[in-house]
């Protein structure tokens, strides 16, 4: 047990058919061979001490840095080198030597454990070369597609910028005209002004009435939603399920807070709900507007576990979100009869303000959505609708376009607000390839797009496999 084979004959480059024999102690990489000289005292690589050579690989740890036992598990911090001819050489922690588990594809780590390992290096090498080749092809084609995307984006951008300039110019001219005419007009229209003001007031009142009616309808809808047990009353507990109503925004909606919202009442009926509604309508989220999976959820899935498509931001109201405010304005705008050049211009300007990548190669994703159906849910990714480029720790800044983050989604019961990380990889097509939920309400999406394909290296990709020589 204590006397182990000291030296190992390594046969190299089997795949090349030109055997070369090099003797060195087990587990030593070629690069360190010169430190292990047969028959000469061995000095620990950290220089801490010198031992007779027969204590190298004698299954007892003499060096603090573990360098005297490259081929045994004796040192806690040692490492073992496997050549893995035909594949990739690697180091494994020496604790994996003779532990009964095959780690090195050339089986050299299990020389005394009884583990039945097979040499799989050739097979692994072949597979890896295939994968690398495929990836190279994808990268090549993807990079070409990317060039097209950049070109299209450039054109589109120029067009839009032109449009904005035109519109700004137009507007300026119009405003000047308006200004010039107004003096004339004001004088002429003075008699009509009073009548018009009356008319305007009536119009405002009518608008208010319409708004009130809408609000009432919303309120009625909300009441029915809130009344979970359909007993005709909304109770404290029923209201409490709407965490977004939390007045102090500390993340928890306490019973006391709910009672405050309800004016101290334990429950309210449809008539008394009006006063409660006033308190909550600004924050209240309808449950109906959440997008349900198209396939019915499995029957046993508890209601709170029904996942909403995490990144489907276009239909989901978000608390304290500027877009939901814009929605309100939209409604007002529809009531008015203003021609809306401004709005178009603002939208274009907004689009132009996005970071679509260094060469605007992500532009084509704007206002697009990508879906992935799994057995349980449909996931929908709409990039640039609330997306932030990821700021992953330990990543160089120029890689920031490989991760998108969506944060501050709707809250999960007893969990965080929903958030999604999207990892982008090079691909010919723009598709969501997988989704997962590693933590509750924290989703991970894998997304391929030509936009992240890097220019292939000038030389043909040389498959690995022989680089250890």
């Amino acid at each position: 047990m204590t006397c182990l084979h000291l030296l190992l004959t390594l046969v190299f480059a089997v795949s090349l058919g030109t055997p070369v024999e090099i003797q060195r102690p087990r587990g030593v990489p070629l690069t360190k061979k010169q430190f292990y000289e047969e028959g000469k005292p061995f000095t620990c690589l950290d220089g801490s001490r010198t031992i007779p050579f027969d204590r190298v690989n004698d299954d007892y740890c003499d060096c603090k840095d573990g360098s005297d036992e490259p081929g045994t598990a004796a040192c806690p911090n040692g490492s073992f080198h496997c050549t893995n001819a035909g594949y990739r050489p690697m180091f494994i922690p020496s604790s994996r030597i003779n532990d009964g588990i095959c780690d090195c594809c050339d089986t050299t780590d299990e020389y005394n454990s009884g583990a039945k390992c097979e040499n799989t290096c050739k097979e692994l090498g072949r597979k890896e070369r295939e994968v690398l080749q495929k990836m190279a092809e994808i990268t090549k084609e993807g990079f070409l597609l990317k060039q097209q995307l950049i070109e299209e984006a450039k054109k589109g951008r120029e067009e839009k910028q032109g449009k904005v300039t035109d519109m700004q110019e137009n507007k300026k001219q119009l405003e000047e005209k308006v200004e010039a005419l107004r003096t004339v007009k004001e004088a002429a229209e003075q008699p009509e002004k009073e009548a018009k003001e009356r008319h305007l007031k009536a119009w405002e009142e009518q608008k208010a009435a319409i708004r009130l009616e809408k609000d009432k309808a919303k309120m009625a809808e909300a009441f029915l939603e809130l009344d979970d047990n359909s007993d005709g009353f909304v109770s404290v507990s029923e209201l409490q399920s709407h965490a977004e109503l939390d007045p102090d925004a500390d993340g928890t909606l306490t019973e006391t807070e709910v009672q405050g919202l309800m004016g101290g009442a334990a429950q309210v009926d449809t008539s008394t709900f009006e006063s409660v509604w006033t308190n909550i309508k600004d924050k209240y989220h309808s449950e109906v507007s959440r997008k349900e999976p198209e396939e019915p959820a499995p029957v046993e899935t508890p209601p709170d576990e029904v996942k909403e498509p995490a990144v489907d931001n276009d239909s989901e109201p978000y608390p304290e979100d500027d877009i939901s405010e814009e929605d309100d304005e939209d409604e007002d705008d529809k009531d008015d009869y203003h021609e809306d050049d401004d709005k178009v211009r603002v939208n274009i300007e907004k689009e132009l303000s996005f970071d679509f990548g260094p060469d605007a190669e992500f532009t084509y994703m704007y206002s697009q959505c990508y879906e992935l159906s799994t057995s349980e849910y449909i996931y929908r990714l709409c990039p640039f609708n609330r997306a932030l480029w990821g700021r992953e720790k330990n990543r160089p800044e120029n890689n920031k376009y490989l991760v998108m983050k969506y944060e501050h989604g709707t809250g999960c019961w007893q969990g965080p607000n929903r958030s999604t990380t999207v990892k982008l990889t090079c691909g010919k097509e723009t598709v969501v390839t997988s989704t997962s939920e590693p933590s509750r309400c924290e989703y991970l999406m894998e997304f391929t797009t030509p936009a992240v394909c890097q220019e292939p290296a000038n030389t043909e990709p040389s498959p690995h496999g022989h680089e250890e020589l």
């Binding site: 604790s95 009964g100 047990n229 399920s241 046993e300 933590s439 509750r440």
Partner: protein, 926 residues
């Protein structure tokens, strides 16, 4: 996991939303538990019970006589037994109950072996019974009835000395025609006659015939059935045990608060320092003073409350029969009162006198800790939930990528198909065998959860079989009892039925449990049982287990679940492999079936701290295999808390990280490289020490001595140790003082033992015993000390799982005591089968160092086992530099060993003795 309610009925869900900590209103106080209230209203005073000495019957080992309650003339039968090993059993039941009262089966290993009793004196009001050796007598006073156990001239324990014996006899309901309408508390006093003479019924009190808590009504068809008895412990100030409570090691005085409650409950987000009941119950109390250690085992499985109060001896101590007994009126005294809702009084008084004697005595009654497979003592990685096979694979690889060892990965309820246990979710775990094989290839294992609530679903084989075999617990009207739990509507198999248990065990056979393999083990959760919509989140007390009410068997249910499951794992391997089953609910005797954990704790410093006294309390009453969820189940731990918890957990018997489904992921490598390194180091320390843990569990299995021990167990005369709960001993040789405070820069550890020495296991620094030592700490510090005089064997080659280390060599750490000697043990077997027991295939050696000679000799000459392991290194602390070290092998050959000596720390390292670990050898230093 607890009834955290996220898949409950919407109503329950809303109730739980506001719960930041335990919702106390979900659980009864003594006042809300009708029998506890009635019992507690009874104050100490003259007992109405009188012993009828003329009914005395004495056989060789059994003494019986009748007691009569002079108020209502109800007669009880008292039985006394002297049991082998310095124990006395006292049984009190109704002489002629209307129907049989429940006596707890299956907890005692067998009928305890009795010893002869003899009456040594008797007068008109008393009886003196010799309890055998040591001048021990039991004095029975007739009026008022009381029992005093005396040794020499010392009273060691008195029963009913405060007159709190109360036995609610079974009775017929007065107005049987309109039971449901009768208001409780009616003043009718009815006279009833039977052959014994006049029995005067007690006045009805509220809750005797029906009891309502929240929206639940307990129909109580048997009426009041509760029992109570008091025990006085003169000279005692410290009592321990009666787990499970999230409370201090030393039990508190309960005057002015609720009594400690024993009623297995699924408590959502439990509070600390509180006598509320938790998931398990062991009705064993241990008392300790410098004079004597004793135990009281109250064998009753019904809801039980325990009052503890301190008193001064003399106030209630003396009947005149005891005039000859000396007692100082200054002496402290602790009074204990047990109250149970039904059953009989069956109490085992364990008279010690040393802590180890009490453990031996209790083990002789209920058995010892099951001997787990070695891997179960290693590190367990759990989470609610690892989502799918891919997730399991990724986490498994994560451990290898970060070079962190682990043995078990766990799957919580989401792995099953719609919470139908014994099945796999077809989309998340489509190929369970492939997953298990992948783990097996890494020499690792998996635990899958199997809870005792069974989804009511006619498409579910398990449910259909249980229903067709009529194995479900029944409701009071005779139909199958149904309650709400994880799967929705669920039935609860009647685990008290041995046929049901046999069937359940058969379901773990590989051909029954599809997708299971030999490296899959089982976790029983929710076995209190948890019933989300039941009273106190458990089963209705009037549910029926055959002829018995759930009321009678409640605390026993969880034990049966684990027993049946462990039996199943043994049977699937045809009796070869040791099982590993974790349970949340437990009772006296549960130690025989596996491990327990402290349930659904939280990621808070207080919860980390309390894990120590909670596991110490369990160890004192036989359950050594205890742990707390590392990191805390609820909430999200800071990196500091998580690291400290790993450091503490690495030195507790059951070492498993676990997390709630709503918490962010917390695998060890998710908190930055520095914290990953700290966690890796803590886990590696655990793996290196596995030989010591394994030997201690073997010892616990053989002798019943706890693995994790309060200091007072080893230092029973050192008063300073009696309340210590922030440090403890592993076996007797390692003292651990984990860091459990946020931002700690130091801990103060008490090192016991006058004249003893302790060695810091990390720095080898030597410290004197009998002192409080301030130890500065950094984030990497885990203060651990090895006792001078001990030898501990480690495997310092830590690999990715314990199985990978099975043939690795040992390093001996010899810590010399102040006399220059040391002793230790080494135990080796195949680490996972019953061969150690059935074929004596093991190595058990005594290692001893004295007079500069270290030797290994066989402790079990009739055992046989060959191991590939050898001795790679010997490290001796506290010695001097020798000029030579000579190894003498069994065949007489001698060889010189190389050595190094560190003179600043006085550490001698002997290089590579190389002898086989099973061999005889001697090393002489000169």
């Amino acid at each position: 996991m607890a009834a955290s309610c996220d898949s409950l009925l919407p109503l329950v869900l809303l109730l739980c939303l506001s719960a930041q900590a335990v919702d106390r209103s979900n659980f009864k106080t003594c006042d809300q538990s009708a029998f506890c209230k009635r019992q507690r209203e009874l104050k100490p005073g003259q007992s109405p019970y009188r012993a009828l000495l003329d009914t005395l019957e004495l056989s060789n080992s059994r003494l019986s006589l009748q007691l009569i309650n002079d108020n209502n003339k109800v007669r009880l039968l008292l039985e006394l037994y002297r049991l082998q090993g310095n124990m006395t059993r006292v049984k009190i039941n109704e002489l002629k109950p209307l129907k049989p009262r429940y006596e707890v089966p299956d907890v005692l290993l067998s009928d305890p072996i009795t010893e002869a009793l003899s009456v040594v004196a008797q007068d008109e009001n008393s009886l003196v019974v010799s309890l055998g050796g040591k001048d021990q007598r039991l004095i029975l006073s007739a009026q008022p009835f009381r029992l005093d156990i005396v040794e020499g001239s010392q009273v060691v324990m008195s029963l009913n000395s405060r007159g709190l014996l109360a036995f609610e006899h079974l009775r017929t309901r007065k107005d049987t025609k309109s039971e449901s309408e009768q208001a409780p508390g009616q003043e009718n006093v009815e006279q009833q006659t039977d052959e014994d003479g006049q029995i005067k019924e007690d006045d009805d009190k509220p809750g005797m015939w029906e009891e309502t808590f929240k929206s639940h009504t307990d129909s109580k068809p048997n009426g009041p059935t509760s029992i109570s008895l008091d025990f006085s412990l003169p000279g005692v100030e410290h009592v321990y045990g009666i787990p499970e409570h999230a409370d201090t090691l030393k039990l508190k005085n309960t005057d002015g608060s609720d009594p400690y409650r024993l009623y297995n409950l699924d408590v959502f987000q439990y509070e600390l320092h509180n006598p509320m009941a938790l998931y398990g119950a062991v009705p064993v109390l241990i008392s300790h003073s410098t004079d004597r250690t004793m135990g009281i085992f109250w064998l009753n499985a019904a809801e039980t409350w325990v009052d503890i109060s301190s008193n001064t001896a003399g106030k209630t101590m003396f009947g005149k029969i005891l005039d000859f007994v000396q007692v100082s009126s200054e002496a402290p005294q602790t009074d204990v009162r047990w109250m149970s809702e039904s059953g009989i009084i069956d109490v085992f008084i364990m008279l010690g006198p040393k802590p180890a004697d009490v453990f031996t005595q209790y083990a002789s009654l209920t058995g010892t800790q099951s001997f787990p497979p070695l891997s179960a003592l290693a590190y367990h990685q759990c989470r609610w939930n690892y989502n799918d096979q891919e997730d399991v694979k990724t986490v498994d690889q994560g451990f290898d990528e970060h070079d962190i060892p682990y043995d078990f990965i766990w799957l919580d309820i989401e792995h099953a198909d719609g919470k139908r246990y014994f099945t796999w979710d077809p989309s998340k775990f489509p190929q369970p065998k492939e997953m298990l094989q992948g783990l097996m290839d890494k020499r690792r294992k998996l635990v899958a959860i199997v809870d005792p609530h069974i989804k009511v679903d006619s498409g579910y084989k398990i449910h259909n079989e249980i229903r067709s075999k009529n194995f479900y617990v029944k409701n009071k009207d005779g139909g199958d009892y149904e309650g709400w739990c994880w799967p929705g509507n669920a039935g609860y198999p009647d685990f008290t039925n041995p046929e049901m248990r046999t069937w359940w065990a058969s379901q773990f056979a590989y051909d029954q449990y599809e997708g299971s393999m030999e490296n899959q083990y089982i976790w029983n959760d929710m076995n209190e049982p948890s019933v989300f919509n039941g009273p106190e989140v458990t089963m209705h007390k009037d549910a029926l287990h055959g002829v018995w009410e759930h009321r009678d068997v409640h605390n026993l249910y969880g034990l049966y679940v684990q027993k049946a499951t462990a039996d199943g794992l043994i049977q699937r391997s045809e009796g070869v492999q040791r099982p590993f089953v974790l349970t949340r609910a437990f009772f006296a005797g549960s130690q025989r079936y596996g491990a327990v954990w402290t349930g659904d704790n939280a990621a808070e410093w207080g919860h980390l701290k309390i894990s120590i006294p909670m596991c110490l309390s369990l160890g004192l009453v036989g359950i050594s295999f205890c742990g707390a969820d590392v990191g805390g189940f609820f909430k999200h731990p800071s990196a500091e808390l998580l690291v400290r918890w790993y450091q503490a957990g690495a030195y507790q018997p059951f070492f498993r990280a676990h997390a709630h489904i709503d918490t962010p992921r917390r695998e060890p490598w998710l908190f930055g490289p520095e914290n990953t390194a700290l966690i890796r180091e803590a886990i590696r320390q655990r793996y290196a020490l596995l030989p010591y843990w394994y030997q201690l569990f073997y010892n616990a299995h053989r002798t019943g001595q706890p693995v994790m021990r309060p200091l007072w167990v080893e230092y029973p005369d050192d008063f300073a140790t009696f309340s210590i709960e922030d440090e403890y001993l592993i076996g007797k040789d390692l003292l651990v003082h984990p860091v459990t405070d946020e931002g700690a820069t130091g801990v103060t550890a008490y090192l016991p033992g006058k004249g003893e020495v302790w060695y810091d296991v990390h720095t080898f620094q030597k410290h004197d015993g009998d002192q409080s030592l301030y130890i500065p700490v950094t984030m990497s510090s885990i203060p651990v000390f090895q006792r001078g005089g001990s030898i501990i064997c480690r495997k310092d080659r830590v690999r990715r799982s314990s199985s990978c280390m099975e043939n690795d060599p040992y390093t001996l750490y010899v810590a010399l005591g102040s006399q220059g000697s040391a002793e230790g043990e080494l135990y080796i077997d195949d680490f996972h089968t019953f061969s150690f027991e059935e074929a004596k295939q093991f190595v058990h050696r005594r290692l001893s160092f004295s007079a500069n000679t270290l030797s290994s000799r066989n402790l079990a000459p009739d055992s046989q086992f060959s191991t590939a392991s050898w001795i790679e290194k010997i490290v001796i602390f506290g010695g001097s530099q020798p000029s030579s070290a000579t190894l003498k092998s069994a065949d007489g050959t001698e060889s010189a060993l190389e050595f190094e000596f560190d003179s600043t720390l006085a550490v001698l390292t002997l290089r590579k003795p190389g002898v086989n670990a099973a061999a005889d050898w001697t090393i002489v230093l000169r």
